[in-house]
Assembly symmetry: C7
Homo-oligomer: 74 residues x 7
Amino acid sequence: MAEKRPFDVLNNALNNNVLIRLKGGMELRGTMASYDVHMNLVLENTDHLENGELKRKLGTVLLRGDSIVFISPA
Amino acid sequence: MAEKRPFDVLNNALNNNVLIRLKGGMELRGTMASYDVHMNLVLENTDHLENGELKRKLGTVLLRGDSIVFISPA
Amino acid sequence: MAEKRPFDVLNNALNNNVLIRLKGGMELRGTMASYDVHMNLVLENTDHLENGELKRKLGTVLLRGDSIVFISPA
Amino acid sequence: MAEKRPFDVLNNALNNNVLIRLKGGMELRGTMASYDVHMNLVLENTDHLENGELKRKLGTVLLRGDSIVFISPA
Amino acid sequence: MAEKRPFDVLNNALNNNVLIRLKGGMELRGTMASYDVHMNLVLENTDHLENGELKRKLGTVLLRGDSIVFISPA
Amino acid sequence: MAEKRPFDVLNNALNNNVLIRLKGGMELRGTMASYDVHMNLVLENTDHLENGELKRKLGTVLLRGDSIVFISPA
Amino acid sequence: MAEKRPFDVLNNALNNNVLIRLKGGMELRGTMASYDVHMNLVLENTDHLENGELKRKLGTVLLRGDSIVFISPA
């Protein structure tokens, strides 16, 4: 079984698709390319979603960890 | 009697169902797989609830501790 | 006379009923089972109140201290 | 003349009536029983005010310092 | 010429009239009696203003520095 | 070419006109007289703007750095 | 392949066009001239966007890192 400590979830998500919920309610979906100890993340091929629908394509995105509510691997 | 210090409640909740209230009012329900000292949590089989009803299924979710208002074991 | 320094109020409230006001305006009432230095609290038999009326029963709740506005012993 | 450094104002207010303004706009009036270095305060015989009128009586209240905007001795 | 480093402005304002803008938009005007390193301030003869008009008189007020947006000497 | 590291921009702006955007959306324009390591700033001849129009004149203003979103030299 | 750790993304973006999303929802687009360890950024030829359309031109902008939600290289 894959490890399930918080940073294991980040590590297992590398190169995989994740849904990110941000403070204020914005949601992004993309491929997680990297993270650091502050939970700053790099996503690639990022979609900005609204009510689950594609609102716009953002490509590579560097997200600040302190803006994140949750990260859900696809 | 089970211990009831704050981190004992987290520890006793491992592998059990919990309701999580987030800043901004969002609520999630899932099985608590792990936590760390910042109260970052991993939930599995997570439901996003709205007014107590299922809004969508989220699977595995890594929640940042600083977004949490309360954690209530089922 | 009971001591009245801030953490004495928490200590005196152990096993007693308290009203908690949270940032965002939510209010909870329950029996205080424990606290830690961050004012993280464990409540038992917790009621979620709305305008002073019972909205729902939450049982055991672990509250993050940084979400708390005030604690009022019953 | 009484000292007027910030913590002198807290000290002079002990056992006296104070008006407290909280983040979010809530106001409380009560007798200041104690404070600590984080400006956590204990009020007694506390009134929750709305537009300067009594909304409800709260008795003893432990207020977190980080919720406070200002403290005004009566 | 008076010094104009940030804390010089506070120091020059002692015993003078200042306008204070708070997070959330509230404005106060009063005589600055003291400050500390956190920019906690004591004002005397404080007016709570609304759209520049007097809303109520508050007398002595201890303001938490983390609630302040700006301080403008009269 | 002028240096363009973040604090170089502050330093180059000394005695020049700047537009400041604050959290909550308020905008000020004035002459930057000083700054410190927290990005606390002193502005002189400060205008409070609304939709780019002068709303009121504020004279000298000490701005807390944690209220600032951006600083744009004129 | 270019490195993709969070600060590599910042470094690779130097002298390139970036889209910045700020807390509160404001968006800016400009050329990234510099950054520091707090993610304070300097943008040049900055456009303030509204719904993806140009709202106004801001020229050089020093952005505080704690206001940033994400940075997306063009």
